[in-house]
């Protein structure tokens, strides 16, 4: 005897509003908020340093007041020549802000350009483009920059353009692989079937489809990378030179007094760098997760 059981009483369920422990969105909100906070204080610092208000003169040396610990008068204390570290940090943003943007734009635009061309026409262009890119790629980056510095004795702007150039191969190969995958996707074939011209397809679909994540990640990563590269160059003595302050050469300046216990000299700029790059990473992460939505469960 088979019997089917059914629930007799049934709540009259009209309409549901149910609190839900939001998972993914909390993480995105936090990271984008933190990232935007970081970007905002970068702009504030950049504004202050360009207009030159609010802060003491970062270049002003007074030998009497060397190695002061942080006090009200010198927010972050003074460095090995008695200059105020806080104002130097504010002025230091100028050293990597625009160069950072330059390096990002150079690496992204050319990376995109080469990536798409070699992705779409692998036979003709890919070999030639990637031949030159491999040349740039195989010389260690710091040696490549050192040679440039020796040749032209350049300003930080030119150095950062070459940093951008040296990271083109990475983006180009990434875009190339993406384009190859996207190329034979149904949507692109359908577009081609509709008679859209090749360039229209490239610009509208490919760039938009493959670019959103790359642009976002590239922008935030690139900015962080340019700060770190500048720090390494300053450690080797070939980065931004002394009178003009930059975060990199302040950390490098602190290294000589590191083992004598005065670690805060290089810890404060390194901390600021850490804070900024963390913000940029999280910003990139959050935006990235919003743009290409999560896989619907």
């Amino acid at each position: 005897m088979k019997r089917f059981y059914f629930e007799k009483e049934k709540p009259n369920i009209e309409y549901f509003h149910v609190p839900l422990s939001k998972r993914a969105s909390v993480r995105d909100v936090v990271s984008i908020g933190f990232g935007l906070f970081v970007v905002s204080y970068l702009f504030v610092f950049f504004g202050i340093s360009v207009t030159g208000t609010f802060i003491k003169d970062p270049m002003e040396v007074n030998i009497g007041a060397m190695f002061l610990s942080p006090s009200l008068e010198h927010l972050f204390g003074t460095d090995f020549l008695g200059r105020d570290i806080f104002s130097r940090i504010v002025k230091g943003t100028e050293a990597f802000f625009i160069p950072g943007l330059i390096s990002i734009s150079v690496s992204t635009t050319f990376g995109l350009l080469f990536g798409i061309i070699s992705g779409f026409y692998p036979k003709y262009f890919a070999k030639i483009i990637f031949f030159f890119l491999n040349i740039i790629d195989s010389i260690p980056r710091i040696i490549f920059i050192l040679i440039i510095i020796v040749l032209f004795n350049p300003s930080i702007y030119l150095i950062m353009t070459f940093v951008g150039i040296s990271s083109i191969p990475k983006i180009a190969s990434y875009i190339k692989s993406k384009v190859e995958v996207l190329k034979n996707q149904h949507s692109i074939e359908a577009a081609r079937a509709l008679g859209l011209s090749q360039w229209a397809i490239i610009f509208k679909h490919i760039i938009w489809l493959s670019t959103k994540p790359v642009l976002i990640i590239r922008a935030t990563l690139g900015m962080g990378e340019s700060i770190l590269i500048e720090t390494s160059l300053s450690y080797l003595g070939i980065g931004v030179q002394e009178p003009t302050p930059s975060w990199g050469n302040m950390v490098a300046m602190g290294k000589d007094f590191f083992f004598q216990g005065k670690i805060w000299l290089s810890t404060i700029p390194a901390g600021v760098i850490l804070f900024t790059i963390m913000g940029l990473y999280l910003l990139g992460d959050g935006l990235n997760s919003i743009y290409n939505e999560k896989v619907s469960r």
């Binding site: 002003e60 020549l81 450690y235 590191f258």
Partner: protein, 538 residues
């Protein structure tokens, strides 16, 4: 375990009472010493960087050598005679001296006069790439009397000529088919230096060239106590000091000024000051019309506070100088006082020179000439003190109304700009002297031109005359008065702003005993250093 807390006073007493060697000198032990940077080339004629010179001192021998207070000792030469007319010098060489073993052969070659002659010929050959030729151009030639005597004939008589014969001797049997050295020949000597010195070269393996030497048991002046020496190159000066403090190395050749107080505070290490005959200065390019005015240069010297810089950057370990000579040497004129720090005097001088108008950002000007100079400085990884000096210099002069733009150039570009193209206004550098204090190459008018040392194009006939006279005279007193006169003139003329002479400090582990450091060649007395194994650890 290293205890930091021991009072500095105790160590100071310890340093000055040179410990009498209580326990017997024990043979053996390894000395590891650290250098900042790597030796370029272990061949005496071609190498002139200080790291290579120190290693060459260990490997090669020379005819004679002079010690700290100018007295001459015989190394490869047993006896020597200087002819009455000071024209010829004969050396009687030691008999039983043998070269180091050449890799592959086990018997050791004999040291003969042929080696001395071959070395001299190569050194003086026109297309040998070396900077030593200018120091030995007073010798006209050399002959071999027999296998163990050598005669040098001089062009003109020279005061205390013996001190000059301290150049190193190369093995002739390895240079048979070579008549001059350019540096790119494929020579066994480059790969495995062979000399007659107290230590034999074993290996220079590795990219950063750790050099390993072992004691030469058949060394003619007595076998050294230390059994093995290892030179470890470093790429970061802070790391050298830390490695010394933690026992990684036993000797640090030159301690950066900022670490001296830390080493002094530690009982396990000793600081040995050795003042190399060198001094630091700001050099001016007199081709620039503004800098050609004497008052401007003098004003600059008044405007900077040298004592404050010395105290705060080098912890006062040095001496302010007033002329182009090292204070320790006999040529230094003590009654010429260094210019005091008085910005008001500097301003007065500048006003007298006519630079009264002020541009809007505070720079003094007179008509079209502005007191704005380019300072050219070489980039290097370890230039913390240079940065501090330059930036405070820039700051001092800004107070007086002189603007300094600092241009940073990579090392080779800097040398080319300064010595070849003369495209600079002010430079910050220092000169290193050997015993002869011959400053003619710095200030003599014939030394102006690309590649010469008188980069500032300083021309003063009176100084030229005095310099030529000083080279010609023979007796020491006459030379001393001439140098004193030179000192006065150059102090007032001020082609340079003379800063100071720094006392270099070497730091070594307490287990190293009877350490005596030669001011310029460092390891001359290496053979009587010894390592005390049973030093009880505090």
């Amino acid at each position: 375990m290293r205890y930091k807390g021991i009072i500095a006073l105790l160590t100071i007493i310890f340093v000055f009472t040179l410990p009498i060697a209580v326990c017997a000198q024990s043979k053996g032990g390894t000395l590891i010493y650290g250098e900042y940077g790597a030796p370029i080339r272990l061949v005496p004629i071609l190498a002139n960087d200080s790291i290579s010179v120190r290693l060459i001192e260990l490997i090669y021998g020379s005819l004679v050598f002079y010690d700290t207070n100018g007295e001459v000792f015989g190394d490869l030469a047993e006896r020597w005679e200087v002819s009455k007319d000071l024209k010829t010098v004969t050396f009687y060489l030691r008999k039983n001296v043998s070269w180091h073993p050449v890799p592959g052969e086990n018997h050791r070659q004999e040291f003969t006069a042929a080696d001395v002659i071959k070395t001299f010929e190569i050194m003086m050959h026109p297309n040998t790439v070396t900077s030593l030729q200018s120091r030995y151009n007073f010798i006209s030639g050399v002959q071999k009397l027999d296998t163990y005597t050598v005669v040098f004939t001089l062009k003109k008589p020279v005061l205390n000529v013996l001190g000059r014969f301290s150049f190193k001797i190369l093995p002739s049997f390895l240079l048979t088919k070579i008549s001059y050295l350019r540096g790119d020949e494929d020579l066994l000597l480059y790969k495995h230096p062979v000399g007659t010195g107290p230590f034999i070269f074993i290996s220079q393996e590795g990219s950063s060239a750790e050099v390993v030497l072992r004691a030469n048991e058949q060394y003619h002046l007595g076998t050294p106590y230390i059994e093995k020496i290892i030179m470890r190159p470093f790429a970061d000066q802070n790391i050298i000091t830390q490695t010394l403090l933690y026992g990684g190395i036993d000797l640090q050749v030159r301690v950066p000024p900022r670490d001296i107080s830390e080493i002094q505070g530690d009982a396990q290490f000793e600081l040995a000051p050795y003042s190399t005959l060198s001094y630091s200065f700001f050099g001016y390019n007199l081709r620039n019309p503004v800098l050609a005015i004497r008052e401007v240069r003098e004003a600059i010297s008044y405007a900077i506070n040298r004592q404050e810089m010395l105290n705060s950057f080098f912890e006062g370990r040095g001496q302010i100088i007033s002329g182009p000579f090292a204070p320790g040497s006999w040529a230094y004129n003590l009654d010429v006082k260094p210019l005091p720090f008085s910005p008001s005097e500097a301003n007065r001088l500048l006003d007298r020179a006519g630079f009264t108008e002020r541009t809007k950002d505070g720079i003094r000007a007179r008509g079209s000439y502005k007191l704005e100079f380019d300072m050219v400085v070489p980039i290097s990884k370890e230039n913390e003190t240079t940065k501090r000096v330059i930036l405070s210099f820039q700051n001092y002069l800004k107070a007086v109304g002189i603007k300094i733009n600092i241009k940073w150039l990579e090392w080779k570009t800097w040398t080319e700009n300064v010595f070849m193209k003369h495209d600079f206004d002010i430079i910050y550098a220092d000169w290193l002297f050997d015993d002869s204090f011959d400053i003619s190459s710095l200030f003599h008018s014939r030394e102006i031109g690309p590649g010469r040392n008188n980069f500032g194009a300083y021309k003063n006939p009176e100084v030229d005359a005095l310099l030529d006279e000083s080279r010609a005279t023979l007796d020491i007193e006459k030379k001393r008065t001439i140098y004193k006169k030179l000192h006065e003139i150059l102090a007032t003329e001020a082609p340079y702003t003379y800063l100071w002479t720094l006392t270099n400090y070497a730091a070594y582990n307490r287990t190293l005993r009877r350490v005596e450091i030669h001011p310029t060649r460092f390891f001359t007395y290496i053979k009587n250093w010894y390592i005390l194994e049973e030093e009880p650890k505090q």
